[in-house]
Amino acid sequence: AQSVTQLDSQVPVFEEAPVELRCNYSSSVSVYLFWYVQYPNQGLQLLLKYLSGSTLVKGINGFEAEFNKSQTSFHLRKPSVHISDTAEYFCAVRRSGYSTLTFGKGTMLLVSP
C-alpha cells in the first residue's frame, strides 16, 4: 500500500515570496504523482502531474514540482506567490496499474500582504 505525507499542515508566507510545499510518499512500486489545489467550498483542481520523463514538471499558475525518486519526494514550488494562491494543496499518488488516488492530509498555504 502507498501513503503520502505532507509535512506541513500550514505554510504562512508573504506575497511575492517563494514557497515550497513538501510531499513524501511511500510505495514499493512505480507511482504517478499529482498536486491538487482546493479553494474554499470548491472541488479539487489539478495543478500538475508527474507520469514519466523529466523529473521537473511545470503546472498551472506558475507552480512546478520536482520528482526525486531516491528521496521519494515530490515537493511543490512557486518562485513568487500571490494572495490568490491562498488555498489548500494536496499531494496525491496513484500506483501504476491502478486507478485510485491516495491523498496526503493537505497543506494550507496562507499568503498575506
Binding site: V4, Y32, F34, Y36, N41, Q42, G43, L44, Q45, L46, K49, L51, F90, A92, R94, G97, Y98, S99, T100, L101, T102, F103, G104, K105, G106
Partner: protein, 117 residues
C-alpha cells in the same frame, strides 16, 4: 455538462436518517469515483465505477454505504442510518478513460457537505 455537478451542495441529516447524494459526471466520461473528505483531512477513496460496473468498493466504510450508476452516467451515493462520523464532504470525480492506465488527474465536482446532527 461542462463540469462534474454534485447535488445537493449541503445536506443536514438527523442521526439515523437515510441520505442520497447525486453526481452528474462530464458527459461521456467512462470512469467515476467517489471520495470522502473529513474535516482537515485529504480525500479518501470510497468506490469506483467503469460505466455502470462498480469495479472497486473497497473504500466504503460500512454496509450502510451503497453506490450505484445504473445507466453508466449519473451516480448516487446512499448512506443509510447516518451517524455523526459520516459528516464529511463527499467528492465525485470523473475521467474520460478507463481506470487502468488513466493518465489524467480526474475532474472533481465541488462536493456535497454532509452534516449529521
Amino acid at each position: 455538462g461542462a463540469g462534474v455537478s454534485q447535488s445537493p451542495r449541503y445536506k443536514v441529516a438527523k442521526r439515523g436518517q437515510d441520505v442520497a447524494l447525486r453526481c452528474d459526471p462530464i458527459s461521456g466520461h467512462v470512469s467515476l469515483f467517489w471520495y470522502q473528505q473529513a474535516l482537515g483531512q485529504g480525500p479518501e477513496f470510497l468506490t469506483y465505477f467503469q460505466n455502470e460496473a462498480q469495479l472497486d468498493k473497497s473504500g466504503l466504510p460500512s454496509d450502510r454505504f451503497f453506490a450505484e450508476r445504473p445507466e453508466g452516467s449519473v451516480s448516487t451515493l446512499k448512506i443509510q442510518r447516518t451517524q455523526q462520523e459520516d459528516s464529511a464532504v463527499y467528492l465525485c470525480a470523473s475521467s474520460p478513460r478507463q481506470g487502468m492506465g488513466v493518465e489524467d488527474g480526474y475532474t472533481f465536482g465541488s462536493g456535497t457537505r454532509l452534516t449529521v446532527v
